[in-house]
């Protein structure tokens, strides 16, 4: 059975999450502090971590790095809404996704499923990525949408590959700048205009994107 670790200092959150996660087939481990969370992660084969950012003994994002050196695991940050900067910092520190508190339980379970898939393909040898009817063949550098070929420039392809290999999870502006330009100091306006072109090619209505969603202030998320 795969293990899921909940690190949160609110006992009620553990109490309400444990039954539903167990019901979804997880072995649920819990920790109330950052230090305890790290110990549990080292002692077990944890696949997914739900990490609250406001812990009594440390800022949650400070242990993201240490958590990831223990096991190949996916981290979903649980944050209060309106903390865009905190979210971005946690994601840039290596977290895979975030969920706002109070969360909708169905949405949380969906995000956990995406994170589990990602944790499974830790060493990513999959040549083809697919999400939401989009198929991207890395070897042939070919992209199809619902079976139809889409012509992309090399940079558009790199950006889409980054998004599609994290399908369902948010990808920060910084990570996309790294993927497209190999340089995080590039003017984010370039990224914005490339995303606009990608939407022209992928979306039925680029001004109300359904596939390449925006998380304003954080990044982009490929629906999938």
């Amino acid at each position: 059975m795969s293990s899921l670790l909940v690190i949160d200092d609110e006992p009620d959150i553990h109490r309400v999450l444990r039954p539903v996660l167990t019901g979804a087939g997880w072995e649920v481990l819990g920790a109330m502090t950052a230090a305890h969370g790290l110990r549990v992660a080292r002692a077990n084969t944890v696949k997914v971590v739900l990490l609250d950012l406001g812990l009594p003994d440390a800022d949650g994002k400070e242990i993201i790095d240490q958590l990831q050196t223990t096991n190949p695991l996916s981290i979903i940050v649980i944050s209060a809404r309106h903390q865009d900067l905190e979210k971005v910092a946690a994601l840039d520190a290596g977290a895979d996704d975030y969920v706002d508190k109070p969360f909708n339980i169905e949405e949380l379970l969906a995000r956990i499923r995406v994170a589990e898939r990602r944790a499974g393909s830790w060493v990513d040898k999959v040549e083809q990525h697919s999400a939401g009817g989009l198929l991207l063949d890395t070897a042939k550098r070919r992209v199809t949408l619902a079976g139809e070929d889409i012509k992309l420039s090399p940079k558009e392809f790199d950006l889409l590959r980054e998004l599609i290999s994290n399908a369902g999870q948010v990808v920060t502006h910084r990570r996309l700048l790294m993927a497209g330009w190999g340089d995080v100091t590039v003017d984010p306006q370039y990224l914005r205009s490339y995303i606009a072109t990608l939407r022209q090619k992928l979306e039925a209505d680029p001004s109300e994107p359904q596939i390449l969603r925006s998380e304003p202030g954080v990044g982009y998320r490929l629906a999938g």
Partner: protein, 509 residues
């Protein structure tokens, strides 16, 4: 030293130039187009004066009155020198000397200075010419200077009147660009980081930062230009001008700084007003919170209690119903908490300078996706005049502004009517308009709907909405240097238009 021709041209230029602006001084134009006729006319008049006086001199001489004869020559020289300056004066003095010496003084028709009586008139002619030309020249210079000064004052007056009617900093800069001569750059740098520039990209950021540290002391820039700086309570007015226009530009800058000060004061008055209302707000909040928070809490508590203690006696259907209402009411509580937190942030004041820039159209897109999910049958049309518009805002604030205004339109209009969303920019402001085909908003209601806890008749009937959405949208928009207003739809169409305006950092079409 001036030539008669240039003098005449200068006069013509002065009369021409009176109503003209600083930007296009017509001196050169006047010199090129009008000198010849004026000079010829001047020479003719001079000739006539000389002729008249010389004739007078002869007549006096013939009647044996040498003093009168000499005086009439002096009179001619004085007149010419006064009218046309040194060169013409000296010329006529020499002419007068020759004529006097040849024709009036002995020996007749021969040059010669035989007595002091021959020399004195010649000296008198020339000395009069020099003295008169000097005095006349100074008078003319003074007249010219005072006309120039008056012209500048008038231009500054017009400029300051223009500024009285501007409401945005952007318009002030535009007016200054029109009025002040030779401005190479002009920008407003607010202390909160906002920059108002006529260019797409502000060019004086570094300079403004230096000036801010150096107490706004004006300093010379490269290649003969000057950097000018004026402080007002919320920022700096910075300009680069060529040396020769520095005085004019400095006066303009002072006026802009005054106008910006007025703008800042108005803004602060609005904020003071908001603060004054905060006591009333707290009272209203307490009474509303007790009602709005307790209702969903009561439902949750009763449902959970029933399930916990009386599950056996409840049908499966009833149990499902109770569970659903727990989830539903929790969501309502969550939304209300969000709104109360937002009000708290508005009350506490927001620091726009520390916020990032976001693409408002991207936020609008996400808000529309969410609205369509919540009201899938509702018809929403769009018309975008822009591809992209960056504004300085926290994404979540911007989302609330847009989502609240959209939600308001959806809640307060019949389900079968259309909501029309359009995007435009005007005078540096992004305009997001939400038009509806509903009953419209009466003049009496137009301001009240932005007050906290105001609920429209429809909302009260359907028990939807918290009466906070528009108040939050306006509070946030104003904190971001914009506003939310309601106006009648153009062309007398039925319904209301809600307009969100926000200062644009960068746009593209």
């Amino acid at each position: 030293m001036r030539s008669a021709a240039a003098d005449a041209a200068g006069r013509a230029a002065l009369t021409d130039a009176a109503p003209a602006s600083f930007a296009s001084r017509p001196d050169t134009r006047a010199i090129l187009s009008t000198p010849a006729p004026a000079a010829v006319r001047g020479d003719l008049v001079n000739g006539a004066i000389l002729l008249a006086c010389v004739t007078g001199g002869f007549v006096a001489h013939a009647h044996g009155r040498p003093v009168t004869a000499a005086s009439s020559f002096v009179f001619a020289v004085v007149l010419v020198a006064t009218r046309h300056g040194l060169k013409a004066g000296l010329l006529s003095a020499i002419l007068a000397s020759l004529v006097y010496n040849l024709l009036l003084s002995d020996p007749f028709l021969r040059f010669g200075l035989t007595s002091i009586d021959d020399l004195v008139p010649i000296l008198a002619f020339n000395a009069s010419a020099v003295a008169c030309a000097y005095v006349a020249g100074r008078l003319k210079d003074q007249a010219r200077a005072s006309e120039e000064a008056q012209r500048r004052v008038e231009s500054l007056l017009t400029f300051s009147q223009d500024l009285q009617t501007t409401t945005s900093l952007q318009d002030m800069i535009a007016a200054a660009r029109q009025s002040a001569p030779g401005l190479e750059a002009l920008e407003l740098h607010l202390d909160n980081g906002r920059v108002i520039s006529p260019e797409q990209e502000p060019t004086l950021r570094l300079l403004a930062a230096q000036l801010r540290n150096a107490d706004c002391t004006s300093l010379p820039a490269e290649n003969g230009s000057m950097v000018l700086c004026e402080r007002f309570s919320d920022g700096l007015v910075v300009a680069i001008v060529p040396q020769e226009h520095a005085t004019d530009a400095a006066a303009h800058l002072a006026i802009i700084a005054l106008a910006a000060e007025r703008w800042a004061l108005t803004h602060r008055l609005v904020q003071a007003d908001v603060f004054r209302q905060s006591e009333q707000f707290k009272t209203a909040l307490l009474s509303s919170v007790s009602h709005d928070l307790r209702t969903p809490l009561a439902v949750i508590s009763a449902s959970a209690g029933s399930l916990l203690h009386y599950r056996e006696s409840l049908s499966a259907e009833a149990q499902q119903d109770l569970l659903e209402s727990i989830e539903q009411q929790s969501r309502r509580l969550d939304q209300l908490t969000d709104k109360l937190l937002s009000l708290g942030r508005i009350e506490g004041g927001l620091d726009q300078a520390s916020m990032p820039t976001v693409d408002a159209l991207e936020v609008l897109g996400e808000a529309l996706v969410a609205v369509r999910q919540a009201a899938p049958t509702r018809k929403i049309t769009k018309e975008y005049g822009l591809d992209h518009a960056s504004v300085r805002a926290e994404p979540s604030l911007l989302h609330q502004i847009i989502a609240n205004v959209l939600e308001n339109a959806i809640i307060h209009t019949p389900k079968d009517t259309t909501v029309h969303v359009s995007v435009a920019s005007q005078g540096g402001m992004l305009l997001l308009r939400v038009d509806d085909d509903g009953p419209g908003v009466g003049a009496m209601e137009a301001e009240r709907i932005f007050q906290r806890f105001h609920q429209g008749a429809a909302a009260l009937q359907h028990k939807r909405g918290s009466g906070l959405g528009l108040s939050i949208a306006r509070g946030f928009a104003r904190a971001l240097g914009g506003d939310v207003t309601v106006v009648a739809r153009p062309g007398g169409a039925r319904g209301a238009r809600f307009e969100i305006s926000l200062p644009i950092e960068e746009e593209s079409r």
